[in-house]
């Protein structure tokens, strides 16, 4: 039986804020099965986020640009610090790393098609580079992960950039996991594992420890690729100020900071919800680190890519105003491909979920054909149509950010600055280091 809030209130029932229905269900699930919940996606709890920030549009004291008339550029160059061939993207929205294995080959192809249609990059994931993805991606970032599944120097040389992954926002300090039901013959072959076994990805790299070693590792990757490719370092947001400084010192051309709203293909719910910090709290720390090292928005500097809960052009504009050079999207890109489509609600319900709630990306039963290796389910996703949906969404995000930037008088998205923003709550003001709206008060920074 479903209880509407009105029913419950009229009968004098009161839900506990501590033992709410989700908590009760989790305790009951643990008691019944003896196992914790594993799921996909990022943190679901309410967190200080981009919605807690507002832009100050131009008026008397600032001069706006004419919408639909005056240019507001969106291009970004990533990795010019050391690389012979930096990435030159048309929009600062990139596609985050998601593995073939976690996603079907057709979903990876769709991501490549969508990204290429708008001139941005997509990223491999654990498990190596697939032909579908390389073939359809104009700009492909190759992830270098602790497991080194499918790691191959030919792919390294075929990539347009290399991303050394230290962690991700959903699980800083955690390795990966791909449950046996998704380890088909093709996935197993690419990862050199038996079919059907749980694939555990290590949480630490096997041949280096700490930032001094990382500097040598980056040197090796540059040598192997003849200093042609930009090298990114990706960290999950936790001690972001220090991690970014160490990544820059180790030689990163680009630093990727992924907040706790960033998704995962399969991680324990307790990890996703309780480890890491919100994206909003991480960005100013990263920017401060880059500024103190003299590499923020400078010639030959280090670019910052932010990910974790970026959903629309406003989020993009806020990230850039806070100091990011680009953003990466994962969950939002999957939704654009067709994840959690209301048209599939009946099928989600058969799996014990519902459209808008489906997060069992680890299970391999995705009715949308995205987070699955099932041969029949995969066929449901048309990579051409899905790629085009993604391209549409990326264009909308970019245009939305341009609308805001013009209103703030900016001829390039990168001209947005913290001065254009205020915060709605004390928490977001403190984390984003912005004044509370209508005041000049930045909590934590004295008067």
């Amino acid at each position: 039986m479903t209880h509407t809030p009105d029913d419950v209130a009229s009968r004098g029932l009161r839900e506990s804020a501590t033992f709410d229905r989700t908590t009760i269900a989790a305790i009951q699930h643990a008691a019944r099965t003896g196992i914790y919940d594993i799921r996909g996606g990022g943190a679901k709890r309410a967190l200080p986020h981009f919605d807690d920030l507002l832009f100050l549009g131009a008026s008397m004291s600032r001069y706006p640009l004419e919408g639909y008339r005056e240019r507001c550029d969106t291009d970004v160059v990533l990795g010019a610090r050391n690389a012979k061939y930096p990435l030159r993207l048309q929009t600062p929205v990139t596609i985050a790393g998601m593995s073939f294995g976690a996603l079907s080959g057709r979903a990876k192809e769709a991501l490549g098609r969508g990204a290429s249609e708008v001139g941005t990059s997509t990223t491999t994931g654990d498990g190596g580079m697939t032909e579908e993805e390389r073939g359809q991606s104009k700009h492909l970032v190759y992830q270098y992960l602790p497991s080194r599944y499918g790691m191959n120097p030919d792919h390294l040389r075929a990539a347009d950039a290399i991303e050394v992954v230290l962690g991700q926002g959903a699980k800083p300090g955690g390795g990966g996991m791909l449950l046996g039901q998704k380890i088909t013959e093709r996935v197993a072959g690419m990862r050199t594992l038996p079919v059907g076994v749980d694939q555990r990805s290590a949480c630490r790299h096997p041949d280096w420890t700490g930032p001094d070693d990382l500097a040598i590792k980056i040197g090796e990757l540059r040598e192997i690729t003849d200093w042609e490719k930009p090298i990114y370092v990706k960290v999950g947001a936790s001690r972001t100020y220090y991690d970014v400084k160490l990544a820059v010192k180790a030689g990163a051309d680009v630093v990727v900071v992924d907040g706790m709203q960033g998704g995962t293909a399969a991680t324990q719910d307790v990890f996703i919800e309780n480890v890491g910090i919100p994206t909003l709290a991480a960005i100013p720390q990263a920017v401060q680190a880059l500024q103190e090292m003299g590499v923020h928005r400078t010639e030959g500097g280090v670019q910052l890519i932010v990910s974790g809960g970026v959903r629309n052009g406003a989020d993009l504009a806020k990230c850039l105003a806070l100091g990011a050079d680009a953003v990466a999207i994962g969950t939002a890109a999957l939704i654009a491909l067709g994840d959690n489509d209301p048209a599939l609600d009946d099928e989600y319900r058969k799996l014990g979920s519902a459209a808008g709630y489906y997060d069992d990306w680890q299970a391999g039963q995705d009715p949308a054909g995205i987070t699955t290796q099932d041969p029949e389910l995969q066929q449901r996703l048309d990579p051409v149509a899905a790629g085009h949906r993604l391209a549409n969404y990326l264009r909308v995000m970019t245009m939305e950010a341009q609308i805001i930037a013009r209103a703030c008088g900016k001829a390039h998205l990168h001209h947005l600055e913290p001065e254009d923003l205020v915060a709605l709550t004390i928490e977001s003001a403190a984390m984003a280091r912005l004044p509370l709206a209508g005041t000049s008060w930045i909590p934590g920074q004295g008067l």
Partner: protein
């Protein structure tokens, strides 16, 4: 050779090159050897020149005064032979394909890491993570290897003349690791399908790693590996270790094993 600032082509008798590739030239003949001195030219110049060689090039190179320089001969993709005359730093011969690399000295962290094919021979000791994640080829270490030898190996063959340190063959997926001395703690922890052969004492086995029967096919492959490494150890003196395969799929009853 244009990228090299100080290449020297010398006519040297093959016997002075310490070559075990009998096909290179008949005894007493001469071959061209490119000499690269790392005191007068950079490792970047060396690697750029090696990467620029035409497909199928099988030239011979000598690297003088390596002095622990990192990434020497990393990313090779040609059937060349590179002799390194002294100690190499981190990631020597990293991601090797097709090449033969001889290190006449010790090797730093991650020698032959992620090797795909070819042969790397350390005529000395190796530091941590030797042969880490390597997919193919043969890594021979005449002396001892430190911790994590063969970590996450994915098909490489590794033969160590001496001992290996703790956590060797951690999460080893495929390939063979031969240890002619002793193995440190937690050998083969969370191992998948790699096969380990140890002649000496094993300090302790890691999770899901067990001693296994040495059947004729194992004796045969071990004999072949020892021969390829130029060793005369008795294969019958080794014990085989591998996965018990009890942790391949997570089950709550196994939680205490991790």
């Amino acid at each position: 050779m244009g990228a090299l600032s100080t290449p020297v082509i010398e006519d040297a008798p093959t016997s002075t090159i310490n070559d075990d590739d009998a096909g290179a030239a008949a005894a007493g003949s001469t071959v061209d050897v490119v000499v690269h001195d790392l005191r007068t030219a950079t490792v970047r110049e060396l690697n750029a020149a090696l990467h620029a060689l035409p497909e199928g090039d099988s030239s011979r190179w000598r690297v003088l005064n390596p002095d622990g320089t990192h990434s020497i001969a990393a990313g090779l993709d040609r059937p060349v032979t590179v002799e390194i005359e002294g100690p190499a730093g981190y990631y020597c011969a990293g991601m090797n394909q097709h090449a033969t690399v001889e290190i006449h000295g010790s090797a730093g962290v991650g020698v032959a890491e992620n090797m795909m094919s070819g042969r790397v021979h350390v005529h000395g000791d190796a530091s941590q993570s030797a042969g880490a994640t390597a997919h193919g080829g043969l890594l021979v270490i005449d002396g001892n290897a430190s911790a994590r030898c063969g970590i996450s190996m994915k098909g490489v063959d590794i033969v160590v003349g001496g001992n290996v340190g703790h956590m060797s063959a951690f999460m080893a997926q495929a390939g063979r690791l031969v240890v002619c001395g002793d193995a440190g703690d937690a050998l083969g922890d969370s191992i998948y399908e790699a096969r380990l052969y140890v002649k000496g004492r094993v300090a302790s086995l890691g999770a899901d790693c067990v001693a296994k029967e040495m059947r004729p096919e194992h004796l045969a492959e071990l004999t072949e590996l020892l021969r390829a490494a130029g060793r005369d150890d008795d294969p019958a003196a080794f014990t085989r270790y591998g996965s018990a395969r009890t942790l391949y799929n997570f089950h709550v009853d196994n939680a205490s094993a991790y």
